[in-house]
Point group: C2
Chain length 393, copies 2
């Protein structure tokens, strides 16, 4: 059943956008047992505006693989391969062809250049590249692109369940997909929605379109920011008693956002390069905990010294010393750094486990969460340690 996938509000991937634009093909998405697959059909006019896009978690490798590849029977000679590549009508930029068995199953890859170097009568099968691990058609485009970029041969075949060749993924296409994805992730982390189409048209969007891609996160985060306001509001009497607390409040909140963004961004990168998986969650947390403790120790020392030596003229209530206050604020920032780092580390791992896009949580959502937890930590730690009584709000 053919299905045009363009549901409003779904996250979209720029699947094969560039391919389609350059080579004037239309992508048709086919739903098959819960998965989408795509076919590229030649078109007369570039279908750039009309291109169908797939939800990000269902972009299959076939949507970025070439489907106009050459394939040969196992009996083909090097001369046969060169002759087909020489066909002026076949203007592809990929130098690889597939050899297939008599039942159509994949046998191996051959490189045009290898065949060119040999006598025309030599069986192409003897030139086959043997260390090729084919992709299956249910591989995601992202996994497939990573695998191609790690191979020595710069190209991998895509097979269906029966072992028949469905497409060929060259490294150009893999790089292009990864580049589009990195770019799209950067936009998501900045809280911009629906970036699939706006690659290079900053000036071309209408003001209204530009507004619509920015306002959802801005509005949502403004509402969420009221929660942080409630915390400040609830502890306003603590600020009355100890005015110096106001001085360190923005630093506590901001530092949480900064350390959380760092760890979320590093872990999102590591996940997207395949160097960690959700199974490594324990090791990731242990590593982040140790780094966070070093960062927290640095800021504890800085904060304590700042409070102790550079608080000239601050009003300190009876019974409290700068030593106590320095330690209390230092403990608060320590707890905030460790918790925000771990929240930043956990969110991308959890979002991958839940099949969500980690780039979204690594951005504005994270900052808002650790802002709130940071203010809660700050006021509860300092009022507890310094024995400040809160007036009823």
């Amino acid at each position: 059943m053919a299905l045009a996938v363009r549901e409003p509000g779904r996250k979209l991937r720029p699947a094969s956008r560039h391919l389609a634009r350059q080579r004037a093909t239309r992508v048709t998405w086919t739903k098959n047992g819960g998965r989408y697959s795509a076919a590229l059909t030649p078109l007369v006019a570039p279908p750039c505006e009309d291109l169908m896009l797939a939800p990000s978690d269902t972009v299959a490798v076939l949507s970025i693989a070439r489907q106009d590849f050459l394939s040969f029977d196992s009996s083909a000679t090097c001369g046969d391969v060169v002759a087909r590549f020489s066909d002026a009508a076949h203007k592809d930029d990929v130098n690889f062809a597939c050899l297939k068995q008599s039942d159509g199953r994949f046998l191996g890859l051959v490189n045009l250049r290898d065949c060119l170097a040999e006598a025309a009568t030599r069986p192409a099968r003897e030139m086959m590249i043997d260390d090729v691990t084919p992709l299956t058609e249910d591989t995601t485009a992202e996994d497939a692109a990573r695998k191609v970029l790690r191979t020595r041969v710069h190209c991998l075949p895509v097979l269906d369940k029966a072992g028949r060749i469905r497409g060929l993924l060259p490294d150009q296409a893999a790089y292009q997909f990864m580049f589009d994805m990195a770019d799209e992730d950067a936009a998501k982390m900045a809280g911009i929605v629906g970036v699939a189409h706006d690659h290079d048209n900053y000036m071309n969007l209408t003001i209204w379109q530009d507004y619509r891609r920015r306002i959802p996160w801005i509005f949502g985060l403004a509402v969420a920011g009221l929660a942080a306001g409630l915390v400040v509001h609830a502890y306003e009497s603590a600020l009355d008693v100890l005015v110096i607390l106001a001085l360190y409040m923005p630093m506590i909140a901001d530092t949480g956002g900064n350390v959380g963004t760092q760890s979320a961004s590093l872990i999102t990168r590591a996940i997207s390069f395949g160097s960690i998986t959700t199974l490594d969650a324990g090791r990731v947390l242990w590593r982040e905990l140790r780094v966070a403790l070093l960062v927290a120790a640095t800021l504890f020392v800085f904060t304590y010294l700042k409070v102790y030596f550079l608080s000239n003229g601050a009003e300190i209530p009876m019974g409290l010393g700068l030593n106590d206050i320095g330690i209390a604020i230092g403990v608060a920032i320590t707890v905030q750094v460790v918790s925000a780092t771990l929240i930043g580390a956990v969110l991308p791992v959890v979002s991958v486990a839940l099949r969500q896009d980690p780039a979204v949580v690594s951005g504005p959502a994270l900052t808002t969460i650790v802002d709130l937890t940071g203010l809660l930590i700050y006021f509860s730690v300092t009022t507890r340690l310094l024995g400040i009584e809160l007036a009823p709000a």
Copy 2:
């Protein structure tokens, strides 16, 4: 004069890292009239750890271009071209060769596949691709990569001042460079330093190395965050008089960071895709101003309605009504949204004009700046509009 470029603390680009790793070559940087150029020399062992890297603003196109390309005299035939490509010793994955004039100057590009399709005796010159605009060797790698990705032929030659061919830049290399750059920019925006080497080794860094790439921004921003604390501290008496101000304070600061990050990120993207330049600064500001006014209007309405209808039980001093307070806070958020959006738009343009990397200012630095300006705006606007007298701090 040969010069190994690895000064501590300089921003590094992952120039030709992947190339060198895969093809076992060493990059040697040569300083020539204030510019760096690179030569790739074959090596026995992959020099991954030992690779020289260039400062980001001096990566020239030759560091990512192929230097082992084929070139032919203008008298070469299609058969000559095919024969050289067939040479088993020349295992490149680029299908293009250069034709040169008798004095060595560039004449045009030919495609192996075009020559294969023709009679061996036909002059290769007749198959030349004529709409090629060569790159010059003083082009930056970034500009060159963008130009290649826009061409129809997927490959561009790099010429020296005399018009001689120095290298060939295929689209694989261009995509790879752009992908590395997008990835590196994402890390910079998260405030992580020295990302050139840590592509896929999240688990391999020591805790101490990981600490060192995170602490510079965290520490610097914590110090800067104290300035925002001074603002809250200075206006503490306003919070005393009008407790409800505390409720909206984090929202004002956060919203500034959010809108600023959006506009900085969109403009950084537009600059890096070449769709705007520093000459467009006026048009960019005018566009951002209009989008910001729409966003600000939305938040003004939201804030006013929230204050007016959902402030049950808030202590309001004599002489002030919820209508006045709603308008005052709404005006403050309007000013904050517009100013933070414009600051976010100006910083990347200014940093490009000053030849700095826009990704750095689009990240943590921006958030800290608009946090500070936001609190100043918030307290000065509300105290002015509501006539709140400040107690001497």
